[in-house]
Amino acid sequence: MTARPHQVPLRRGPPAIRETPAELYERLVLGRYIIRRLLQAIPVLLGATLLIYAVVFALPGDPIASMYGEKRMDPDIIRIVREQYHLNDPFIVQYWHYISGVFQGDLGTTFAKVPVSEIIAGKFQVTLNLGLTALLMEAVIGVGLGFYAALRRGRAQDTMVLAATLLLISIPTLVTGFVLQLLLGVRLRQGTGIEIFPISGVSDGWRSYLLPAFVLAGTSIAYLTRLTRTSLAETLRADYIRTAVAKGMPRRRVVGRHALRNALIPLVTYLGADLGTLMGGAVITETIFNLPGIGQELFRSVYERQQPVVVGIVTLLVLVYILANLIVDLLYAVLDPRIRYE
């Protein structure tokens, strides 16, 4: 048993003007924790660049040849270009040229001399919008459906939700993408005369993201629904739920307060980790819906062996993943007071 070292005000209402030593200590520990996590990210990011660089290096085919396609090129020009991009050097030397540039703030250029940083800056926003919209849809629909099913366990509605999620998990994104594009995009517009869900590009603002985000989130929605259902059902069996009922709490409060907070804990972990997955999955979705994001760019760059672009984009995705996980861990402690940073 530990006693708080200092008087804590009875009510945590209006802004506390003075921090208690305990609160100050917690804030310092939290700050140190965040800094340590960010430092830990550096070797991970470096490792990611090396790995991706190696993978693109190992891809069959020649970048210069793919750049010029069918055209016959003067062997002298090819030789000059190869030398300019250090393509004749051994792998580790090529990587050294790249990474030393990165440390000087230069992410490299494409073979067409466009800086990678410029490409990413222009396209990252599109993918981020897409990923966050998908994440929001996943959270709202997945948690909502999961709750609906968990509270009707064993009944027809529950079985229907389970069957629907199974179907959604079984169908590949490529199929749902094209089918929804056709049905909700093309056919609906032909039927009503109004374009409710744009099917290509980002010229319609936020509406452009609705259909792609749903397609991107599809499988995740299904998994989250099932996870929510299990998590809530399990929580509702806990002893403290029985206590809440024995205290005479109305069912609304038992589920909406006592069970909800506890059931959310595993869901937050899943959602956080899923932001990375969603942004990675954008490669396919952006290609289907022709969204000018980094997913589509990544696809093209792999095809054209644009090493600096591929490495830059993938490393950025790794960074998003790391940050999302850090946010999850911070949220975790908000939801579960038993968790403390060390």
Partner: protein, 340 residues
């Protein structure tokens, strides 16, 4: 909802009376008959100990009184639970939730899992006043501090915003008790309140319960499998086996001379300092299978007093004098054997 009779009902009327209660659980393997015709009564200011091993139906009976059985799989095909004359089983869910927690309260065995880990103990206690009495947060928290003081939690005010995991086992059980007595219930059911605690802490908790009961006119139902806990605090004892009451008696009568072979076996199996070094007595055999109850007495397969009629006819609860009962055909022999 018919109004529940207020305080001051006639003496003879028990505060709480369980009558011929049956509870069963429908499972894939079949119907588990957990409680088979249990009856007991509790008067104001009285402590009733319900004694029995795991699976005897003692906790299920308590949960039926509270109305916190999960239905399904549980169902109550028969019986009455009369609280100040009104059958709780006949009330609507709304009416029952007004009784639950405020007029009949319950504390559980393992306070760590019975308290919600993500809310402060203060908010969990204050919730009683906020939900049942509609108090403001500020008033409810003030009352929560008073309660924490009353159950002797040191530095109650500072610990209001602590979480259950920051307390020791004994302190957590005190929090549970504070929550249960918040609205001055007329009946408090304590389901093995000390099982998860150290022996020294057990005594403190039992002392606290006894004290709280003295301060009010609350009836206390103490569910336990520990005969040692019972002797000092209980007025009456109900012994349960296989979902039935096998013996009931005032506590001292039962200790002096049990009238049921099962009670006898239980008393004989308590380690005693004057029999140090000798082998402990154990009741041979296994508890009955609730999925497939024998037609006769549930204890018959393990009973040293068994006769042929025990396996065919279940014994009713024979009255012994005005205060006792034993569900054994041969209670006279058991009682005589106890005296001898």
């Amino acid at each position: 909802m018919p109004p529940l009779p207020a305080w001051g009902a006639p003496e003879s009327e028990p505060l709480l009376a369980v009558e011929d209660l049956h509870v069963e659980f429908v499972t894939r393997q079949g119907t588990v008959k957990a409680v088979n015709g249990v009856g007991y009564a509790l008067h104001p200011g009285e402590t009733l100990a319900v004694l029995g091993e795991s699976g005897s139906g003692k906790s299920v009976t308590a949960q039926a009184i509270m109305g916190i059985l999960d239905t399904p799989p549980a169902r109550v095909p028969k019986g009455r639970i009369r609280f100040r004359g009104t059958d709780l089983l006949g009330l609507s869910e709304d009416a029952r939730s007004q009784v639950r927690g405020s007029r009949i309260a319950m504390i559980f065995q393992d306070a760590l899992s019975a308290l919600n880990p993500v809310f402060t103990v203060g908010s969990q206690i204050a919730e009683m006043f906020r939900v049942h009495r509609g108090m403001s947060r500020r008033d409810a928290e003030r009352r929560a501090v008073e309660l924490m003081d009353r159950v002797r939690i040191p530095g109650a005010r500072q610990r209001l915003h602590d979480y259950p995991h920051q307390f020791s086992g004994g302190m957590r059980q005190r929090i549970m008790i504070a929550m249960a007595i918040a609205l001055d219930p007329e009946v408090l059911i304590a389901d093995e309140p000390t099982t998860a605690l150290d022996v020294t802490v057990q005594a403190q908790i039992m002392e606290l319960l006894a004290e709280l009961k003295r301060e009010s006119d609350m009836g206390l139902i103490l569910i336990t499998h520990d005969l040692g806990v019972v002797a000092d605090v209980a007025d009456k004892i109900v012994v349960m086996y296989g979902g039935r009451v096998v013996e009931n008696a005032p506590v001292h009568d039962l200790y002096r001379a049990p009238a049921h072979p099962y009670t006898r076996g239980l008393l004989d199996s308590i380690p005693r300092i004057d029999r140090k070094g000798r082998e402990l007595h154990a009741i041979a055999g296994m508890p009955p299978n609730l999925l497939d109850m024998p037609p006769g007495c549930a204890f018959a397969p393990r009973c040293p007093y068994r006769q042929d009629d025990c396996v065919t006819a279940a014994p009713p609860l024979h009255r012994i004098g005005s205060t006792r009962g034993s569900a054994c055909h041969y209670w006279r022999e058991v009682l005589d054997g106890s005296h001898g």
